[in-house]
């Protein structure tokens, strides 16, 4: 099919080591020979076998990405899936390959993820959807290869994480509502004990307390689903609320649907802000103001952390996307 270094050497009548050096631009080869060899390499479409390179380099330039799916939902509906975009791009930028592992169905991991990496000689690993009660959580903390988790708080010698600035994002939303004159602001929380949920809840708490407006009756604990947004809406009917901040767009959309059915107008009667910026936000009626997560940057940062052995967590800025679901209060 294509020649290898030995054949190319024979063709141009030099040794294989000369070719290797020339192509790797080593200093101890004359410029003219380098040119000659480079041209020959192109002519005979020679390119070094990456497998052989990896064998001698003892480095695979490959990162493992573990997509840890909680409820066996299809990947396409799985939020963490989106991080792949940035991960792939950033990894390619540094000539790293990524290998994706999934734990649904067939592969319920008995082997620890880190062992999997070890066997495959991977240079690092990224975890999406990692839970603190994962059987291998501690095993990951003590990993000998660099590891980064996305949206999971985890610390260790070679371990760090990246997440959105969840707390800051919620506060942005609340400040916006505050400027609009809202004081009675409801909060839809995500599942408790998850890092991002806690951070968002914490953002709500601290802002509201700073304005001495905090009322824990104004918090509903959902589970990020559309349906739990509907249930949150039910809670709202008998409360004097003018605005809602939701920990996810899905829940905000669910609530919106419920409210509209009950003849509550948005944003005239109630203002709503979501979190994530999923595509439906643009198309809902009214379109949904939301805190956008920069998933591409999050993905990129996660590979940066692994590649640079970075130890301090990274919080990625969120952005308030103003649409039509909020209104000034009179």
């Amino acid at each position: 099919m294509s020649v290898n270094i030995k054949e190319l050497a024979k063709i141009i009548g030099v040794s294989i080591s000369t070719i290797s050096k020339a192509l790797n631009d080593k200093s101890d080869i004359s410029e003219e020979l380098k040119i000659k060899i480079r041209n020959a390499a192109i002519e005979y479409s020679y390119s070094p076998n990456p497998i052989a390179k990896r064998l001698v380099a003892k480095k695979t330039n490959t990162l493992g990405v573990f997509i840890l799916n909680r409820d066996n939902i299809p990947l396409k509906h799985y939020f963490e899936f989106q991080f792949l975009d940035g991960i792939i791009r950033e990894a390619n930028l540094y000539n790293n390959d990524i290998l994706i592992f999934t734990n649904t169905n067939d592969l319920s991991y008995k082997k620890s993820y880190i062992d999997e990496c070890k066997e495959r000689k991977l240079d690092g690993a990224i975890f999406l959807g990692l839970r603190e009660d994962d059987p291998f959580f501690e095993n990951i903390q003590t990993s000998y290869i660099p590891v980064c988790a996305v949206d999971t708080e985890i610390y260790g010698e070679n371990v760090s994480f990246v997440s959105s600035d969840n707390k800051g994002g919620i506060i942005k939303a609340l400040e916006y509502l505050w400027e609009l004159g809202h004081r009675d602001i409801f909060f839809i929380s995500g599942c408790q004990n998850a890092f991002v949920s806690n951070e968002r809840l914490y953002g709500y708490k601290s802002f509201m307390e700073s304005k001495t407006l905090f009322n824990k009756e104004y918090i509903f604990e959902g589970n990020y689903s559309f349906e739990s947004g509907i249930r949150a809406g039910e809670q709202l009917l008998n409360k004097k609320i003018t605005a809602v901040v939701s920990s996810s767009d899905m829940m905000a959309l669910g609530m919106m649907q419920y409210l509209k059915k009950n003849n509550i107008r948005i944003p005239d009667d109630i203002s709503i802000i979501g979190f994530d910026d999923i595509i439906s936000c643009e198309h809902s009626e009214p379109s949904l103001t939301t805190i956008a997560q920069n998933v591409v940057t999050m993905g990129r940062k996660s590979v940066d952390i692994v590649l640079n052995g970075n130890k301090s967590p990274i919080l990625v800025e969120t952005e308030l996307i103003i649409r039509n679901s909020c209104k000034k209060i009179n």
Copy 2:
């Protein structure tokens, strides 16, 4: 970190070839020795270096997946991204790794995709979002490694494709509407000259012609976007239509929004059926009846084609998901 075959050999006092044979369950090693060696392998956590294996096997067990993004939209909004789910699962099932390539931003390919595979010694390739006017289309057709495209019609010695049964899907929708009594059925087509669009349009044409109902005034050419669905809605106002079949959910949803704003009730005044079964279908008002594509199966089949060198195209069954956007006509 962990032992290699040579060290393990020294530890248990046998030769490396004995270990290799024992672990690969060759017939010329005694059963007791095999057991002894397997146990030792576990004890010293030995596992063969996959890189070295690949070097000698001259086979990487790795498939390239090219995600060819048309308009540089983020991957998360990119429909083809969903095929990854099935691709990853099926590849893992057969102990194959996948390598993902993207052509957005940084990497606008000058090198042909097949050359990329060649350099990386990949065993096969899968193309998502491949267009017929791609500069390397012909190059792919004549690929020497097995190739499968998803949703692109392509033929070649080692080349095949997988798609939904788009024509059959549309016909399913039309038959359903027919049973419901609809006769004046509008069709929102996707961008012309794309394979799937043509198939869906062809399904509409042939069904309508078979009922001698065909009227080309009843076709609107959109571009799969929400906005083009709105434009399709505008076309509808002055036509006597009772039902609409759309080539995508996004367009159906766009049309639905427009129609509702213009006080046309769904499904009372107009029945609507979409295509794809995106998540928003469940949450729209009314929820949207649609032709579901089985993206997981499509992904799986694409790797089957590559792995088995299958030559005949595969069309995956679609499924009519009945929700609340269609109604019997009186």
